[in-house]
Amino acid sequence: MAWVLAAVLLVGCDGFTDESREFGPPVTGEPTHSVVIESPQTLGVVDSPLLDVNGTPIGVGCETCHGPTQARSWAATPGEPFHTGVGVTVDGVRKLDHHGELRCDNCHSPDRLTVHLADGTTLNLADTMLLCAQCHGPQYRDYQRGSHGGMTGFWDLRQGPRSRNNCVVCHAPHSPHYEPRMPAPGPRDWYLREKPTAAKEPASEEKSSDLGDGHGN
């Protein structure tokens, strides 16, 4: 419709008639806004045998059973089997089965409240990213440069803050492989060219044995 007049009005619409409209207001100053790293709320929380009114286990902190101020009745006795869901025991040695073959003590300190680096430096669970960094230097570097781990908020820290995720939000420390999932729905545009290969794909291709196994690097 508009073409009737478009033809008439077309002359000279390469530049802005009002040049002040070309740009918005300039943004000046230093990038002063902060980048906050969000940790999961469950960091350092374990399901206890106690249930709440809905029947869900009540979460308690490590210090409830470990450490100097533990409640007596909860005190962890050395050797008592606990946290049996974590890792596997082979020939009497307990280790992780989904994160290399790491032993519990490669990360956890004897006090059970903290984790530690190879040189003995202890870290609070909240600083667990530095623990990951020790063995995953390239990913940690990429994370710091913004090309691993994602972000939300502002690209321009002059204009607003940014929020990022702790490594353990995406990678559970005991089983860090990024979880496969069902995708959001595909497109339904009517003019979409339907690919013969897509239609022919045999159902067996979708067996769970064929799930991705980390195609990074």
Partner: protein
């Protein structure tokens, strides 16, 4: 330049065009006489925005705010996507669909994710309609959206100058100037443009009320639309909706002129790949791999 109305007298024009207005259904004279985006004064623009807000309220029963958000001086946008991390979950597709007020029935989105054979790079062999757990072991995933080319074939193909490249690198469409000839759609090697075959249907409560003229306002029927790197967000410093929605952290966005920006680091330190580089389109959208 004189507007059509100034020469003929608005009333006379109105009368002359009355049959046209009836034919096109809901097409008002103001719209008909609206000048090209770049020729509007600030006051003209205000009027246009008011009118569009009223129209959205009438037609979609939703109060929205439509702004005319302009580029930030000294900013050149660039976007990169890490193919080593992307798992093809289409969260970006979904986020775009909602952010940009796309038609619900067609589930339109500016992003399409191609599922491809590892080791292959034949786009024709890819699937966009895959529907199984991702990622599949033998596949990799490649989201494709507008590359905001610096040598844009779509802009060259446009016969009415309804689409152009802005100072920060974003290629935009004036939906009120587009005549729907779709030459730009055929010209785009990335299949990044979409056509509104029908009037977009979106329930009032689902309309994203934060809108801008050149980006996510609800488009009229019969015009072409495209990804603008969410210019209504990115021109006020925010990250694009597709980046925020990505659960894998595959997407990197920022100002290529800032030597400390994340996007610059990727371009300088990663193995960067340009889709259909041989066409000379000079994209601002890049793919990369971790080494």
């Amino acid at each position: 330049m004189a507007a059509g109305g100034a020469t003929f007298g608005a009333a006379a024009v109105q009368q002359a065009l009355a049959p046209l207005a009836e034919l096109s259904g809901g097409f008002t004279l103001d719209e008909f006489l609206q000048r090209h985006y770049k020729q509007l004064s600030r006051e003209d623009m205000e009027e246009v925005l008011d009118r569009l807000e009223r129209k959205t309220l009438e037609e979609y029963d939703r109060e929205v705010q439509i702004e005319d958000i302009r580029p930030i001086p000294g900013v050149q946008f660039g976007y990169a996507l890490n193919l080593s991390l992307c798992i093809g979950c289409r969260k970006c597709v979904e986020a775009c669909h909602k952010e940009n007020n796309h038609d619900r029935a067609t589930y339109n989105s500016y992003i399409r994710v191609l599922e491809m054979e590892k080791g292959g790079n034949d786009l024709e062999e890819s699937s966009v309609t895959y529907d199984h757990v991702v990622p599949q072991r033998k596949k990799f995933y490649m989201p494709v959206q507008c590359h905001q080319c610096d040598n844009p074939p779509c802009v060259k193909a446009c016969i009415t100058k309804a689409t152009w490249k802005e100072a920060d690198g974003i290629v935009v469409v004036d939906y009120n100037w587009c005549i729907g000839c779709r030459y730009c759609i055929s010209a785009c090697p990335y299949e990044a443009r979409r056509f509104n075959w029908t009037k977009p249907e979106i329930p009032a409560e689902e309309i994203n009320p934060g809108q801008s003229y050149l980006t996510n306002r609800v488009r009229p029927v019969g015009v072409v639309e495209k990804c603008t790197f969410c210019a209504h967000r990115t021109r006020v410093g925010r990250l694009p909706a597709c980046l925020e929605a990505c659960p894998t952290g595959s997407r990197v966005f920022g100002n290529m002129l800032d030597p400390k920006s994340e996007i610059r680091w990727v371009l300088e330190n990663k193995r960067v790949y340009i889709l259909k580089a041989e066409l000379g389109t000079l994209p601002r959208f890049f793919y990369f791999f971790d080494e």
